[in-house]
């Protein structure tokens, strides 16, 4: 249960970060709280979109799905079912790959680091690790 709780809290944090970045990109927030100033460079670059969709919006949807899976997995009838964990593992694995790609873009193409994007990358890696641990728990139960 603790792994799914951790996934839920981290997914909610990721959801809020994605919402923050998406709101900035669409002009709802004047400036980003970003010490290096790299956040705007990254968010206003052409790489802030993937296949025509805002990366922040993709993040928002992915974290919303992870949060929903974690909440479902926390319902008493679902506590020992494997489907939420499998789905979260698959989704977070995709998220980790995408986060590696985005970090590579920041370092070697855009040449600017967005702290909020780094925070999101750390969160998705943590969610992936928690999903792996939850899968191990279910395999031993």
């Amino acid at each position: 249960m603790k792994y799914r709780m951790g996934t839920a809290v981290l997914s909610l944090a990721g959801l809020l970060i994605s919402a923050y970045l998406w709101m900035f990109k669409h002009g709802y927030i004047g400036t980003l709280a970003c010490g290096t100033g790299g956040c705007e460079t990254v968010q206003l670059s052409p790489y802030s979109q993937f296949l025509g969709v805002d990366v922040a919006a993709l993040g928002f949807l992915a974290y919303a799905a992870l949060l929903a899976l974690a909440m479902l997995g926390l319902q008493p009838a679902w506590l020992d079912r494997r489907e939420p964990t499998r789905a979260a593992l698959l989704l977070s694995a995709g998220g980790v790959v995408f986060a590696v790609y985005l970090t590579w873009l920041e370092l070697f193409v855009i040449h600017a680091i967005c702290r909020w994007c780094v925070a999101s990358a750390v969160i998705i890696v943590a969610v992936f690790v928690l999903s792996l641990l939850d899968r191990r728990r279910l395999a031993h139960s």
Partner: protein, 228 residues
Amino acid sequence: MAVTSTLNRFYLLLLAVAIAGGGILYWQVRGRVPSIPANVVVVATDTTGFSGYYLGKPDAPVVITEYADYQCPACQDFDVVQFPDVVRQLIETGQVRWRYRDFPLDGPHRSARLAQHSAACANDQERYWQQHALLYQGQGKWSREDEPSGTFRGYAKQIGLDVAAYDACMISAKYAGRIQASYNEGIAVGVASTPTFLIGGRLYEGVQNSDKLKRLADSLAGAAAGTR
């Protein structure tokens, strides 16, 4: 029972995180956005030593004053299509000195003053015309935004401004009076729409092409030479 109790505590924690995060987002939206008030009282310091944004040689025989609004599509049309030719044919050749005045149309153009203030803050760092050009080039994007100050800040970064100084300038709204003074001047000379050009004491409304402006400038320069 223990599971239910643990879950209840967890839900409370999750709710607390959601409320705190939502509150921070709300504060970001409401608290950090620069706002440029309209109809402020103009004081002497708003206009001392400042009568517009100039481009061209101070001794050019003709001065053309443009009253414009960054959110006005016709002004954008003029700036993007005609103005580069005006710069090349008239300003760089020393025939004309260009004077740009803000004339915000607050009703339909709610971000006009914010854009004008952004350009004024760029002027603090001697990059006025660079910000001016980006504001017009990006009009189609930012004019659809509810709060475009982030986009303007992106332009400021793009032209190499000290962003911290730019932010401080924007939050201070210190040029609200200057913009109002510019608007008041436009009203006083009879401007009713944008863009409007004041050339040789006469107003020309709407987009003017560079050839017409050149004819007018030639004519005024000739008249001025004839009276010497």
